[in-house]
Symmetry: C2
DNA sequence: TGTTATTGATAATTTTTTGTTATGAGGTGG
DNA sequence: CCACCTCATAACAAAAAATTATCAATAACA
């Protein structure tokens, strides 16, 4: 392994072209410089300089090592700067949320990044449990999840903050507009499924006070479609091929609203949104603006 | 300064999450691991891990250092690979030649680079003495120059190889086509100057056996223009604003040939082209294809 | 062309750093 | 609750690095 001190000495030597001057510059003795170069050479397995008379020339390997060393010393300096100053406009933000929220949030995050090019936004759409898992391993810095309950036993590992809520909609083809919803109707129509469909469905029926489907019987609904592209889920519904359950925001952003009908339950179905990070983790300064952006976006949506 | 061994230990520790396992993996003892981490932390001036119970969490600084260390270890490995294997298709080629030759060579060099994206061609157009100087300092790996004579005293510092020659042309506006060339005509017409004009002029008159301009009187020719864009020098000549001296290849690549007339001296004026590198310097493998490309290009041009 | 001053290499010695062993405190799991 | 595992600490041994004291080779200069 290449010792950084040797590299520093080597760079200075190449710059000055002079062993003694290098020693003075680095507050060491001249034999020390010779030794550093010798050690570096044997660590590299190659001669780095060709000594001739008083001066020397770089070998090709010497050039490579010189380039490498310069980069290295620069990047170490950069690291130290990062360590002492937590720049709010620089660094990676690894975020995760549901596909529905990603659809809304990603453009806003990107406009922040457009202003601060060194602030790199990474947004991953994933189901709840995967988000929590990724936060735990440190793959994700900050996540937005819906229900914390099912992972409650782990919840002590997280810092959770409620940041908003979103209405869930039961969506059918427009031709059922005037019809009363029955369990049999839904079974006949079939479900257009998607990654969060199961979770949304059980949430919807348990909250909406509709006397349909106890949890055990949700499986009985036939699946007449599946997509994991959030903005394409409503296409088959619009074409009359099935029903589905999605957050309000997805429905709002769909082009062909006239082909859909949204069922109005007696009691609106709301899912809570939680901003989650790892417990004890103090996020860098850049997450200030990110989380306030998230909060204001989610609040604005409720209006 | 951050010791590479400490960083290696730190990375392994973060990966395993386990001091003892880290020690085993790196063939050291467990207290050694503890010490490495302590030293790294004090060198960074920050806690890198938060020890709690048996396990630990990374601090934000720890994350930064981890990222940095991973990059570093990777790039050191890359360096070693470069040192043992001189890849003919990877690396920088820093070349220099006259503007005229650059015009011809650069497209060819770029088509080589297009095939081998890691082979980066850097071509600089510069006058002779600047090229020799840059080769001497190591800023340029390989150069093409015309006359070595004036820097002959230094020539022992270089390895020189003749690689071709190029005809020099005296170019006038087409309206002088039928006219005999006299010294007075040139003075009346005026010189369209460019960076190599003086050198080309003295070469031309000393070789062409025209009884014009002893070197001392070259200065008397009035300058009626100047450009340092090689492919724009002939524009003012075509418009009748002056004469100039340029290599044949530049004339050939000019669009508006009909507006020019090229003087035919009794004895054609040739300037030799030399491929020059620093003496004793063994260039990396990638220069094989570069110099054979240069040679074949210059030979092809002579035909 | 001697003569002196510089420059870098080498060897021996000292100092500093690093790694190991021995041990202990705190936590875990059967 | 006991045996075990994990990491921290201190004392010591080993290795690495720096320094001093030289020397040979070259350059500079009278």
């Amino acid at each position: 392994m290449l010792n950084l001190n040797w590299l520093q000495t080597f760079v200075t030597l190449v710059d000055t072209g002079h062993f003694t001057h290098t020693a003075e510059k680095l507050f060491m003795t001249q034999p020390g410089v010779s030794q550093h170069i010798n050690k570096l050479e044997s660590a590299c397995g190659h001669a780095l300089i060709l000594r001739e008379k008083k001066s020397f020339d770089l070998t090709e390997q010497g050039r490579l090592v010189y380039q490498y060393a310069q980069q290295l010393l620069m990047s170490e300096q950069h690291l130290f700067e990062q360590l002492i100053f937590d720049n709010p406009d620089e660094g990676e933000c690894k975020l995760a949320c549901s596909g529905a929220l990603a659809l809304m949030l990603y453009p806003k995050l990107l406009s922040v990044q457009a202003e601060h090019r060194k602030l790199v936004m990474q947004l991953k759409a994933a189901p709840n449990h995967e988000i929590l898992n990724a936060i735990n391993t440190g793959d994700i810095d900050l996540g937005i999840v819906t229900n914390m309950s099912s992972d409650a036993q782990k919840s002590s590992d997280f810092t959770v903050e409620q940041v908003g809520h979103e209405a869930l909609c039961l969506i059918l083809p427009v031709k059922y507009e005037a019809q009363p919803i029955t369990e049999q109707l839904l079974i006949d129509l079939g479900l257009i499924s998607h990654p969060d469909a199961k979770h949304y469905l059980s949430l919807y029926f348990s909250q909406s006070q509709l006397p349909f489907f106890t949890n055990t019987r949700l499986e009985e609904i036939p699946k007449t479609g599946f997509v994991n592209q959030i903005n394409q889920i409503l296409l088959p519904v619009a074409k009359g091929l099935g029903f589905t359950v999605l957050p309000q925001s997805i429905v709002d952003s769909f082009n062909d609203q006239e082909s859909l009908t949204i069922f109005k339950p007696d009691k609106p179905v709301i899912e809570m949104l939680y901003l989650v990070k790892k417990r004890n983790r103090v996020l860098p300064a850049r997450f200030e603006q990110v989380s306030s952006l998230i909060k204001s976006s989610l609040l604005a949506q409720i209006e």
